[in-house]
């Protein structure tokens, strides 16, 4: 009996998920045990056959053992999984923490009072996939680390260093005390104004104008094309630390990537700048003719795409060296440059040609009669104007550029200036996920110039909603100032829509000029009201009278200091010329009988009235009555 039990007990631990064989052998062992057991215990009270009860017991034990074994297995697996899961989570969290430590350091720099906190030198650029946190940054002594060239954080980040950006910077500084504004510019220059590049700078008497970039205004007062001298700005390194904040300009850097979710940008040198509010004022790049682009290196290097200071400098030099320059394009810039060069031509004998597809200068802006009259004026400035000219191909032969037109004419010249429009710089739209307008180009923004919660766009690159005139994109200087200023106001807490209508102006030589406002498109029906011109009605006289210097300033940037002298020129009515003389007047541009655009033709200092008429948006039955408001016969 004992033998049997020990044998069975030995067997029990060996029980595994059952097999019949196992059971059978167990049973046999039990039976054997039982058979030897029987003779000794006849008197046992077990009712059934003695082998049955212990068989059941073994069965239960086998099953129970299986269950227990399975349970133990399952538990150990689950537990192991849980442990592994927690380990993995811990690893991920620790990896995030490593990334955070470099960025956590940045907010501490914002503090005023010039705290000398050292930071991880971000000019080495801690990218997102950093494995090693820079522990040196936390522990190193304050004195040793130099301030990074590129500040890692700017509360106000302005992308682009042009007119709109500068106007926004000024606006922000005026409204937000102690604001820190960082301008990131591709160019090597501090912010400057563009209109003089195609106007006043060419009329300067200074032989060194190429270097100084200063010009005398009509009233004798000189000024630079730069908005402010270098002492106005703070250096980018010091921007996070200066006591009262300031405006810093980071030159020769381009923003190549914008991360809107993380509120940061990446520059072309790899460094990153985080921001709280961002303005995109990237402006545009001059378009080129396909005929020139495929014409080869010799043609391309003899072509100027005019926009920047360096283009002015190079063209100014070239105009002294070559015998013939051809301007392709009949719009504002093309015509202004043609007149400027034509004026120079009188002394140097330079041949100046201008060719364009339209029927006359400013053909897309002025009604036909006025465009023709203007073309004649441009010709008297010394320019050979070729209208209805479409360029077919350009080639370089015998040391000359040959421009072949579609109608067969050939123009031989030494240098080309292409003034065929502006392509808005919207490369950031892709990385930033911003909308680009398909009709007008540029970033699509609302009436408050906002693209996303912390992102505004102003200037040439902004396609905005004008409450009065509808969605549009404007490429003029005053618009850059107005929209830049508005964006700056909205970035510092205001919620104002585009309301103050911007204007623009153009001078074709010192004797013909106009100011305009609103939508001025020659395809619209127009009503022109004209009077005869006297000698007083020229841009020169207008500037002298009002004493405001160049008209770039009279509207939006009144000169705060310095007295100006105004000289009165005697008025002598000119002898009426043969044919129509559109000496001075007002031209209204209509859309559905409402005035949407006005040109003041040789009539100056009346822009507020024009602005008011556009703002009202009323249907006037007799525009001659409206024209009376301008007093065109007076000065």
């Amino acid at each position: 009996m004992l033998k049997c039990r020990t044998a069975w007990q030995k067997l029990a631990p060996l029980v595994r998920p059952s097999s019949t064989l196992c059971r059978k052998s167990a049973k046999q062992t039990v039976l054997k045990c039982e058979s030897s057991f029987r003779p000794t215990q006849r008197a046992s009270m077990s009712s059934g056959p003695p082998g049955g009860s212990s068989d059941n017991l073994l069965y239960y034990l086998l099953v129970g053992g299986t269950v227990i074994g399975g349970g133990v297995y399952a538990y150990s697996t689950l537990h192991g999984d849980k442990v592994r899961y927690q380990e993995r989570i811990a690893e991920i969290v620790s990896r995030q923490n490593k990334e955070l430590t470099p960025t956590e350091l940045q907010p501490t720099e914002k503090g005023d009072g010039g705290s000398e906190k050292e930071t991880a030198p971000p000019s080495e650029a801690p990218p997102v996939e950093t494995e090693q946190p820079p522990p040196e940054a936390v522990e190193s002594a304050p004195e040793a680390v130099p301030r990074p060239e590129v500040p890692p954080h700017a509360p106000y980040l302005l992308i682009g260093g042009g007119t709109a950006s500068f106007a926004a910077a000024r606006s922000i500084r005026a409204r937000d005390p102690g604001a820190r504004v960082l301008i990131v510019s591709e160019e090597a220059e501090l912010p400057y104004m563009r209109p003089p590049l195609s106007k006043e700078l060419w009329f300067s008497d200074d032989p060194n104008v190429n270097e100084t970039l200063r010009f005398k205004q009509w009233n004798g007062k000189e000024r630079s094309i730069y908005f402010q001298p270098p002492s106005f700005y703070v250096s980018p390194q010091d921007l996070p630390y200066v006591e009262n904040g300031g405006v810093a300009v980071l030159n020769r850097k381009k923003v190549v990537h914008m991360d809107v979710r993380e509120n940061k940008v990446r520059l072309d040198d790899g460094s990153e700048i985080s921001y709280e509010k961002c303005l995109i004022a990237t402006g545009g790049s001059p378009r080129n003719l396909q005929a020139i682009e495929r014409a080869g290196e010799e043609v391309i290097k003899r072509t100027t795409l005019f926009r920047k200071i360096e283009d002015f400098k190079s063209l100014e030099k070239i105009s002294k060296d070559v015998k013939s320059i051809t301007i392709i394009g009949g719009g504002f810039m093309g015509s202004e440059l043609a007149c400027a060069l034509g004026r120079r031509a009188r002394e140097s004998g330079l041949e100046v040609n201008q060719l364009f597809p339209e029927g006359g200068n400013m053909g897309k802006v002025l009604p036909e009669y006025l465009s023709n009259w203007t073309t004649d004026k441009v010709k008297t400035e010394g320019v050979n104007v070729l209208t209805d000219s479409v360029v077919k191909s350009v080639s370089y032969q015998d040391d000359k550029l040959e421009i072949k037109l579609k109608d067969g004419r050939v123009v031989k010249t030494d240098h080309i200036v292409a003034a065929v429009g502006l392509e808005p710089n919207v490369e950031l739209a892709k990385s930033a996920g911003l909308e680009v307008d398909s009709d007008f180009g540029g970033f699509r923004v609302n009436a408050e110039l906002q693209a996303r919660s912390n992102i505004w766009v102003a200037g040439d690159a902004a396609c905005f909603y004008d409450i009065r005139l509808g969605r549009r994109r404007v490429e003029h200087h005053d618009h850059a100032v107005v929209s830049g200023r508005l964006a700056g106001e909205n970035m510092s807490g205001a919620n104002k829509p585009y309301w103050h209508q911007s204007m623009f102006w153009s001078d074709l030589g010192p004797d013909v000029g106009y100011e305009a406002i609103g939508i001025v498109d020659s395809s619209l029906p127009t009503v022109g009201v004209f009077a005869k011109a006297t000698a007083k009605d020229t841009p020169k006289a207008a500037a002298e009278e009002s004493g405001t210097g160049i008209r770039s300033e009279s509207e939006t940037e009144a000169v705060a200091s310095g007295a100006s002298e105004s000289t009165k020129t005697p008025s002598s009515p000119q002898v009426p010329q043969q044919g129509e003389d559109y000496g001075k007047g007002v031209i209204f541009y209509l859309r559905d009988n409402v005035v949407v655009g006005i040109i003041l033709w040789n009539v100056f200092n009346r822009m507020p009235i024009a602005r008011k008429i556009i703002k009202d948006g009323e249907e006037h039955t007799d525009l001659n009555e409206v024209a009376k408001l301008f007093n065109i016969h007076e000065d």
Binding site: R173, A174, P177, F232, R485, H500, F530, R611, K612, V626
Partner: protein, 132 residues
């Protein structure tokens, strides 16, 4: 004698001085001086100084902007008989700052007093641009 002609969609009217002597019958909508959208002059409708006024040039935004704002605010709200007489300290601080940037703030005698007076005068005379 005025005459009128039509060239396609464009209408051209020539007028003499006499034609335009009679007052205009065109109606303009009255201006709302408190329109929040309009560009304001130097003084806002609520009485505060508009630091963003183009008339101030770069004064409020330059390196001495804060000093200028504090001096000019003091002057603006001054109720003294000689307006701004209690603001000497702020003006002195402003002048000290400006002397550090001679390029930006050309030094003339009593320049900042003249400036603030002129600005104040400009502010009172200058209406919002559209109503002139």
């Amino acid at each position: 004698m005025s005459y009128c002609k039509q060239q396609g969609k464009d209408k051209i009217i020539f007028v003499t001085k006499e034609d335009h002597e009679t007052p205009s019958s065109a109606e303009l909508i009255a201006e709302d001086p408190n329109d929040p959208y309009e560009d304001q002059g130097l003084i806002l409708p609520n009485g505060e100084v508009n630091w963003n006024c183009p008339c101030l040039g770069g004064m409020a935004s330059g390196p001495c902007g804060e000093q200028f704002k504090s001096a000019f605010s003091c002057f603006h709200y001054s109720e003294e008989e000689v307006k701004g007489s209690e603001c000497i300290e702020q003006f002195r601080t402003m002048q000290e700052c400006m002397q550090r940037y001679p390029e930006l703030y050309p030094q003339e005698e009593d320049e900042e007093d003249k400036q603030s007076n002129r600005n104040a005068a400009e502010g009172e005379e200058q209406p919002s641009p559209a109503s002139s």
